[in-house]
C-alpha cells in the first residue's frame, strides 16, 4: 500500500504495543538463551559411571547387597590407562555420617570422603574459596581438607571464614556416641583414630541441590589415605587405602562399551584381590558382583539436565509464542482496521499479492524493531533474572553464545513477522471488493 508510513502513523498505538510485546518476549528469549541455555548443555558431553563391587548374600530368602571397599587408588590409573575412552577416573572412600570437632564443638556431618584430585576434575568441581588440594598434597599425605559450601556455612559461617581453620575428624566411635548409637557399634572393629585437618578450600557441586541427600557426595573431602584406618595402621598418609567407589567419566556415546570394558578388566582383578584378602569366603555363602551404573550423581545430573532442558525449551517456546501471538493479534487489528483502505487500494489497482507483500514487509519491520527493543531490554531483564542464575552454575556467558542468542532472536522475530504478517493480510484482502468498500470507517 502506498504511503505506508502515514497508515502506520495513523495506527501508531497498536504498533507501539506490538513492538513492546515483541520486545519483552524477545528480551526474555535472549535472557533465557544467554543465561539458562549454556547450563543446560553442560553434562551433554560426558557421562559419569559409578563402579562398585557388591557382595550379594542370601539371607532368609532375600538378596542383600553391600558395596565393599575393594578399590585401590591405582585402579583409577589402571582403568584410565587401559580403556582409552575413559577421560577421568577417581576412587572415593566414603564415610557416611561423620563426627567433627570445630572449636571444641562437635558436629555431625552427612558424609566425608577421601579421594584424589581426579575426583575434582571428574565432577568439574571448582573452588569457591581457597584451592582444592592437588597432586602435591596427595603425595605428601598432607592433612588438608576441602569442604562443601554448605558445610563451610554451617561450621564456620562463610566460605572465606573457613579457610585455614582446623577441624578434627572424630573417630567412628565418637560419631556413634554423638548420635546415641554406640550400642550398635560392632565389637571387634578398631575405630579409626582422630585426625586434624586444615581447611584449604571450599567447593560447590555444579548442580548443588540442598534438598537431595546423597551420602556419596561428601561434604568434607580429604586426600586419599586418610579416613581408612581400619586395617590397623595409624591415620595419616595411609599406605594401603581401599575405596568403595570407582568413578569414571567417558563420552556418552561410549557408555556401553566402557561399561563392558570395565567388567572385563576389573572382574578378574577383584576376584583375585578378594582371594588374597582372606579366607572368610568359606563360611559365608555370598556371591560377588561388579556393578557399573550411570548412578548416583551422574543419574541425578542427567535428570536435572533433562528437567532443565524441558524448562528452558518450555520458556523458549513460551517466549516465541508470546511474541508470535502479539504479532498476529497486532497484525489482525491493524489489517482489519484497514479493511476499507485495503479494499480501496484493490479498487485502484493493487493486486492481492502486492497487498500481502507490503503487509508482510511491514510486519517484519515491526517484528525486527520489536526484536531490537528486546535486545536492548535484555540488559535490564538480565538484572531482574539474576536470581535465576542459581539455576545453573552461575558465571558469565561467553560472548559467542550471547551473539548467537542475539542472532537467533532476530531470526525468530523476522520469521515470526513473516508468518504473522502473511495470514491477516491475506484474510483481509480476499473476497468481495464491493463489500470491503461498503465497510464503514
Amino acid at each position: 500500500m502506498p504511503f505506508h508510513w502515514r497508515l502506520l502513523k495513523a495506527g501508531w498505538f497498536t504498533t507501539v504495543l506490538v513492538i513492546l510485546q515483541v520486545g519483552v518476549a524477545a528480551g526474555a528469549l535472549v535472557v533465557i538463551l544467554t543465561h539458562l541455555l549454556p547450563h543446560v548443555t553442560w553434562p551433554r558431553g560426558a557421562t559419569v559411571l559409578e563402579v562398585t563391587y557388591q557382595r550379594v548374600e542370601e539371607r532368609a530368602g532375600m538378596a542383600m547387597r553391600q558395596a565393599e571397599p575393594v578399590f585401590r587408588p591405582e585402579d583409577a590409573l589402571l582403568v584410565r590407562g587401559e580403556i582409552p575412552a575413559i577421560t577421568e577416573a577417581a576412587a572415593l572412600v566414603v564415610q557416611p555420617l561423620v563426627a567433627l570437632m570445630v572449636d571444641d564443638r562437635p558436629y555431625l556431618v552427612r558424609s566425608a570422603g577421601a579421594t584424589d584430585p581426579g575426583y575434582f576434575r571428574l565432577w568439574a568441581l571448582e573452588a569457591v574459596a581457597g584451592t582444592l588440594f592437588g597432586a602435591a598434597e596427595m603425595a605428601q599425605g598432607a592433612p588438608v581438607a576441602v569442604i562443601s559450601e554448605a558445610a563451610a556455612r554451617q561450621l564456620f559461617g562463610s566460605a572465606e571464614d573457613a579457610l585455614d581453620r582446623e577441624l578434627m575428624l572424630l573417630s567412628v566411635e565418637e560419631g556413634l556416641l554423638l548420635q546415641g548409637l554406640l550400642a550398635g557399634f560392632p565389637s571387634g572393629t578398631t575405630p579409626p583414630p582422630r585426625a586434624v585437618f586444615r581447611v584449604v578450600g571450599v567447593y560447590r557441586f555444579p548442580s548443588a541441590d540442598p534438598e537431595t541427600v546423597d551420602l556419596r557426595r561428601p561434604e568434607i573431602i580429604v586426600p586419599m589415605g586418610w579416613l581408612t584406618a581400619q586395617h590397623g595402621k595409624p591415620a595419616g598418609p595411609f599406605s594401603d587405602p581401599f575405596a568403595d567407589v570407582l568413578y569414571v567419566s567417558a563420552p556418552m556415546e561410549q557408555e556401553l562399551a566402557v561399561q563392558q570394558a570395565l567388567e572385563v578388566l576389573l572382574s578378574p582383578l577383584l576376584t583375585e584381590r578378594r582371594r588374597l584378602q582372606g579366607g572368610e569366603e568359606a563360611r559365608s555363602r555370598s556371591s560377588w558382583q561388579l556393578e557399573v551404573v550411570r548412578g548416583g550423581q551422574a543419574q541425578l545430573l542427567r535428570e536435572q539436565h533433562r528437567a532443565r532442558a524441558a524448562v528452558v525449551s518450555g520458556l523458549v517456546f513460551a517466549a516465541v509464542l508470546a511474541a508470535g501471538v502479539a504479532l498476529v493479534t497486532g497484525n489482525l487489528v491493524r489489517m482489519s482496521g484497514r479493511r476499507r483502505a485495503i479494499g480501496l487500494a484493490r479498487v485502484l489497482g493493487a493486486s492481492q499479492r502486492r497487498i500481502v507483500q507490503s503487509a508482510v514487509v511491514e510486519s517484519m519491520a515491526i517484528a525486527l524493531v520489536g526484536g531490537m527493543v528486546g535486545l536492548a531490554a535484555s540488559w535490564p531483564l538480565e538484572q531482574l533474572a539474576a536470581p535465576l542464575s542459581d539455576f545453573g552454575a552461575g558465571g558469565t556467558t561467553p560472548f559467542g553464545a550471547r551473539l548467537a542468542a542475539y542472532g537467533f532472536c532476530l531470526v525468530v522475530t523476522l520469521i515470526g513477522g513473516l508468518l504473522a504478517g502473511w495470514y491477516p493480510a491475506w484474510e483481509v484482502s480476499r473476497g468481495g471488493l464491493a463489500e470491503q468498500l461498503r465497510e464503514e470507517v
Binding site: 502506498p2 504511503f3 502515514r6 495513523a10 487500494a345 484493490r346 489497482g349 464491493a434 468498500l437
Partner: protein
C-alpha cells in the same frame, strides 16, 4: 439495443446474460437477472431505478469489482470473467476510473497523494506522478488545494479529488455510483458539469443516479427494476427522464 455489436462500431463493454445472486442466509437475492448490455466508446450512460433494483451491482460488475454469478463480460473484446487477481487488478488500474457516493479518499493522504495512488500501482515514477496529479487537480479546479487532507475539503471538493484520481491513469471508462448523492445542489451541478465536460472530451461515462437532473446529463438512459433492464433509450431532455422515473416508481409500488 443489439447484443451482437462488434469492435468496428466502437463497442467498449458487452454483458451477455449476466446474473448476480446473493446468498443472504438461507434465501437467495437475485440482484441482477439476465442482463444484456453493450456500451460504446464516448457514450454517457445514465442508470436509474428504484432502490434495490441492482444499479450498484451492475456498476460493480462493469468495473470489475464484483463478478457475475453467470453470464459473460467483455471489455474491448477481451473476456474479463475468470481473469486471475493480478490481471484483474491491472484492468481496474488501467481501464476504470471509479467515483463513489462517499468519495472513498484515503483520509491520511493529501489531495495530491490521493490522486497519485493509482499511478503508484501503475508503476509511474515519483516525479511524473506528482506532475500528473498536480495537472489533474488543476483541471478539476483544485489547484489551490493540493496539500489539503480530505477532512479539510468540502464534499464537492472531495468528489473532485476523487474524479481527478479516477482520471489518473487515463482510463477507458469512468464509473460513478451516485456521485452527487451526498452533495448540495450547487456542488452537484459542478460535478455534473465536470463529468459532461470530460465526456465531451471523449471519455466514456457511466453514472448511476436517483436524480433525474443528473441522469439528464447523459445521452442514454438505462432503467432497472428488480434486477432487469426495463428500458434502454436515448435521452432528449429532462422531461423524458422525469417521465421515466415517474413510471418506474409508479410501477414498483
Amino acid at each position: 439495443m443489439s447484443v451482437e455489436g462488434d469492435g468496428r462500431t466502437g463497442e467498449l463493454l458487452r454483458l451477455v446474460g449476466v446474473s448476480r445472486l446473493f446468498h443472504a442466509g438461507s434465501h437467495v437475492v437475485t440482484a441482477l437477472q439476465e442482463i444484456h448490455l453493450s456500451v460504446r466508446q464516448t457514450e454517457f450512460v445514465s442508470i436509474m431505478g428504484p432502490s434495490g433494483s441492482g444499479k450498484s451491482t451492475l456498476l460493480n460488475i462493469l468495473g470489475g469489482l464484483d463478478a457475475p454469478t453467470s453470464g459473460k463480460y467483455w471489455l474491448q473484446g477481451r473476456e474479463i470473467g475468470g481473469l486471475p487477481d493480478r490481471e484483474l487488478a491491472r484492468v481496474r488500474n488501467r481501464h476504470f476510473g471509479y467515483v463513489f457516493q462517499n468519495y472513498n479518499l484515503f483520509p491520511e493522504l493529501t489531495a495530491l497523494e490521493n490522486v497519485e495512488v493509482p499511478m503508484i500501482y501503475a508503476g509511474v515514477g515519483r516525479r511524473e506522478r506528482r506532475r500528473r496529479a498536480t495537472v489533474l487537480l488543476e483541471q478539476v479546479g483544485l489547484g489551490a488545494r493540493l496539500h489539503h487532507r480530505p477532512a479539510e475539503l468540502s464534499g464537492g471538493e472531495q468528489q473532485r479529488v476523487a474524479i481527478a484520481r479516477a482520471l489518473a491513469n487515463g482510463p477507458t471508462v469512468l464509473l460513478a455510483d451516485e456521485p452527487t448523492g451526498n452533495l448540495p445542489s450547487n456542488q452537484a451541478r459542478q460535478i455534473m458539469e465536470l463529468l459532461t465536460r470530460l465526456n465531451r472530451q471523449g471519455m466514456t461515462v457511466i453514472v448511476v443516479t436517483h436524480d433525474p437532473s443528473v441522469a439528464a446529463c447523459g445521452q442514454r438512459l438505462i432503467s432497472l427494476r428488480d434486477g432487469r433492464i426495463v428500458a434502454d433509450e436515448a435521452i432528449t431532455g429532462t422531461s423524458d427522464v422525469a417521465a421515466r422515473v415517474a413510471q418506474l416508481e409508479g410501477v414498483s409500488l
